[in-house]
């Protein structure tokens, strides 16, 4: 395959390459599913623990599955930029929810703020999926962004019991959408790349 020497194209290829193992989809899928289940219990604060332990687990999976097959790549750290995007989107999501709640409250008797909660992750996911789509040039991340947003709107419709009923429905929905993708990508990745027997000796 002819490789491009255009740095922008090369950067896109590196990003695309790092996303082909499906661990991005699997980690979000599993994380959201566990969060949805935890929110249905009285241990909702466990969500913080999930957020803390998830990154090292993903790193370990990468070290076991990805790096032996395709090599190790440390992409430029964009956590600060991503953090700024997420804070802006969080603010935007809160404003959207408050506006909707006020509007809803005028037309209905009950103030049901919790049912609008699915819009929060739906908007936040845009900050993850769209930049990933731009950086990698992979169309599936735009599809994820659209699905995440549409699902967020759909999940505010039912009147589910409990504070986090609608939010859990949303998280379970996005998880069930991403998990099959992740599994397919991972299986394809494992089939495509077999780890060289002498990975450690390659660099001697």
């Amino acid at each position: 395959m002819e490789k491009s020497l255009d740095p922008q194209q090369l950067a896109r290829e590196v990003w695309r390459d790092s996303l082909q193992d499906g661990l991005y989809e699997l980690s979000i899928g599993v994380g959201m599913l566990i969060t949805a289940l935890v929110l249905q219990t009285s241990l909702a604060s466990l969500v913080i623990i999930i957020a803390i332990i998830a990154p090292p687990i993903i790193k370990k999976l990468k070290a076991r599955i990805t790096y032996p097959r395709t090599g190790y790549v440390n992409l430029p750290d964009e956590s600060k930029k991503l953090g700024r995007i997420m804070i802006l989107l969080l603010g935007f999501a809160v404003v959207v929810i408050l506006v909707l709640v006020v509007f809803w409250n005028k037309t209905n008797e009950k103030l049901v703020i919790y049912k609008w909660f699915p819009l929060l992750p739906a908007i936040l996911f845009q900050g993850g999926f769209i930049p990933t789509g731009i950086k990698s040039g992979l169309a599936r991340y735009y599809v994820y962004a659209v699905v995440a947003m549409v699902l967020g709107i759909v999940c505010v419709i039912p009147n589910l019991p409990g504070r986090f009923g609608n939010l859990s429905l949303y998280l379970a929905g996005i998880s069930l959408f991403l998990l099959p993708w992740g599994i397919i990508l991972l299986l394809r990745f494992i089939k495509k790349y077999t780890p060289p027997e002498d990975v450690e000796r390659q660099d001697d």
Partner: protein, 101 residues
């Protein structure tokens, strides 16, 4: 006769495989040996030879590190390497501008 600034072309960077390696390194923080091999299509011996030349020129930094307890030879572009790549781009641009139609 038109004088072309060939002296400005750094032969270390100009070699296609090394140019590929440096360009790849310029868009990442660091990569290991296997990753460069796969991306460039170079053999183990070829890659070792090119990396040695780049390291000798001070354009890349090579060090052994443990990533999740697994040893990796990590390669990253040095500041000098970034400058060399930028100089090379300017030199080539200048050179090609001077080439008559």
């Amino acid at each position: 006769m038109i004088e072309l600034p060939f002296d400005a072309i750094d032969p270390i960077v100009h070699e296609p495989a090394r140019l590929h390696i440096l360009t790849l390194l310029s868009v990442v923080e660091s990569v290991d040996f296997l990753y460069i091999m796969r991306q460039t299509g170079l053999t183990k011996g070829n890659l070792s030879s090119h990396l040695s030349k780049l390291e000798a020129a001070g354009y890349v930094e090579i060090k052994k590190e443990f990533v999740e307890k697994i040893p990796h030879t990590l390669v990253r572009i040095s500041d000098e390497g970034v400058k060399a790549l930028q100089r090379y781009r300017s030199a080539m641009t200048g050179l090609l501008q001077n080439v008559p139609d």
